[in-house]
Symmetry: C3
Subunit: 262 residues, 3 copies
């Protein structure tokens, strides 16, 4: 699958408008929509612009080709993850910039979740107001296999959305969960047959679009203030140049099992 | 149904004592116990007085006639909702005054929930220690149909009790939930056949009444301190005189669908 | 069952190492591993030492003889509970010292929960990262029968782990829950047939041991910071010499029903 433009080689975040609704699509063909740095920046641009669109009432956020988002684009990681400064710039700048833009969007956002919803996928969907998933969707953040922890703000976001017990299971055991389990754990609002997810997300968006938009904006502002702010320690990214970090990413890219018996 | 006294025309909150137990009943006949301003003030008086009653061990809070509480008494809303000052006085004075009095009651409070438990009903039951509901009870806060948001303290209370995901579903999609779903979401402690709810609430109150009362008081004080305080922004009620707010309430009172396509 | 050494008479906390894993066992034969003051101090020593063990990757915390822990060792209570200073020293020193040591352990801790998991058992397991229980395990904190409240830090810990609604049910109604219910309430990560719990706990520990240890440590540090700190009021232990407190403990030790109709 050849990209037709330079941008699409690194994936992209597309927007389609349809009256009071907007569809935002994470697209990285061949990589289950894994988030590249370019996509994180697109995500921020898209969600910074959306609240200014006249008459917009609801956004549906989804992934292309039957998957939401499989995580970060690990092929890019050797380029910036092994130095604290560039690692911090990635997490606090690119990633959190994209996530914060969704959180700050005063227009309601519905996550339409199909297939893989891992790592960055869990984080992105955690920023949405409603989460609607198909039966076969899978959720987790198995970065302990990659030799690195979740960044502080991202961990606070995920723990707030999935609960502390599930966050520890995801992060410390690299556990992966099905959709029914994630509904039971309070993360998903609704689980449907895979073939019905897109229809239900659209129907939900239309229901929201018929309700009072100023009330939605004020409710989102109120609920946003309830989330505690997270302090990022000065040494949060000091692990950048560690053997463990390099081993986890190298093993993944080398298609071998990592060895953490340092 | 003619009220026999002036007070009852706006509904009332009644108390019956039975040894160590007290039954508090929300009563607004013909309106599914919708809370009038008079009822919010009664509620505050009742729950301010209860903790001083010698020998009181447990309170059961319920609604009259097979319903807990269907919300606020919307017929009163045009009288005060369209100006920020009177709107603030309603939410921060009457409503929060009643809710805070329940929260501040050191004697355990059991909510016996039958039928409609909407808006103010969710808020009132969220202030109780235990929530026991009948199978056919319904829960929601569909005020987005009425063109206004939930007040900040009330939203923090509800989100803390139903969880952030459910709060967004209630407020942004105007979703309504059954009792089994609300138990699964962690709001209800117990769900029973409708005919058994009153019996179970009374049995629970008697169980609590046999336990150590000082321990209950101290536990309630400790758990109360865990709830974060909410800051109410200066402009929280600036929406009072908006078209959307007027349209939502006018449409409801005029028995027509609101049009929010401003 | 005669203890062979002086220490074991008051119970003990034992540690066995097996390569990257450690098994910590609460042991108080004949008392369902009820926590004595000596055991709380052992617990602190054990979990203070564990993170310094070279190559340790995961800890399994369990009880001896088919039970996790039935609570505190009530036979000791008349010796120190009826004066505020010694009561405070017990809760803030011995109990919280043990619990904080588990919370501060940067190595992942898996709770293997069989049989009774009551009071201190709920608190200890609440400090673990993952909780795996057998079908017949029982959970609660029925100290309202003993005439005393949960200490502030312990109540905050438990409410954070079981949720506010369940914490109130445990503390105000002395409710006891089965394992399936505690999984539904978000406290337990996994429930298995009793005979499979030990195997699953060991398998989980081995899974964790194969993952990146520095990432685990950093994730635990991040998640630990999300827990709000608890202020202990100056008068938190003023109830020590109350009739109710004495009556609850005396009745338990005298094998009679307490009378709280003061």
């Amino acid at each position: 699958m050849l990209p037709e433009q330079g941008v699409a080689a690194d994936g992209e975040v597309r927007v389609v408008h349809d009256g009071p609704l907007a569809w935002v699509t994470l697209s990285h063909p061949g990589k289950l929509n894994a988030m590249s740095r370019a996509m994180w920046r697109h995500l921020r641009e898209v969600f910074t612009a959306l609240p200014t669109v006249e008459g917009l009432r609801c956004v549906v956020l989804r992934g292309e080709g039957g998957h939401f988002c499989a995580g970060g684009d690990i092929s890019e990681y050797p380029g910036f993850r092994y130095a604290p400064d560039s690692l911090r710039a990635f997490h606090e700048g690119d990633v959190w910039g994209g996530l914060q833009a969704i959180l700050d969007c005063d227009v309601p956002v519905v996550a339409q979740i199909e297939g893989a919803c891992m790592g960055a996928g869990v984080e992105i969907s955690a920023c949405c107001d409603l989460r609607i998933a198909g039966q076969s969707a899978k959720f987790g953040a198995p970065i302990a296999k990659l030799g690195f922890p979740m960044a502080p703000r991202e961990a606070a976001l995920v723990a707030g959305a999935v609960g502390a017990a599930t966050a520890r299971e995801m992060l410390l055991e690299a556990a992966v969960f099905g959709a029914d389990s994630m509904q039971q754990r309070g993360f998903l609002n609704r689980v449907l047959a895979d073939a019905e997810v897109a229809h239900e997300a659209a129907a939900t968006a239309r229901r929201i679009a018929a309700l009072a938009p100023q009330a939605a904006r004020l409710n989102k502002q109120t609920l946003r203030r309830l989330a505690a702010s997270t302090v990022v320690p000065a040494d949060a990214y000091a692990y950048a140049d560690s053997e463990e970090h390099r081993e986890g990413i190298s093993a993944f890219l080398g298609k071998r099992r990592p060895s953490f018996t340092l």
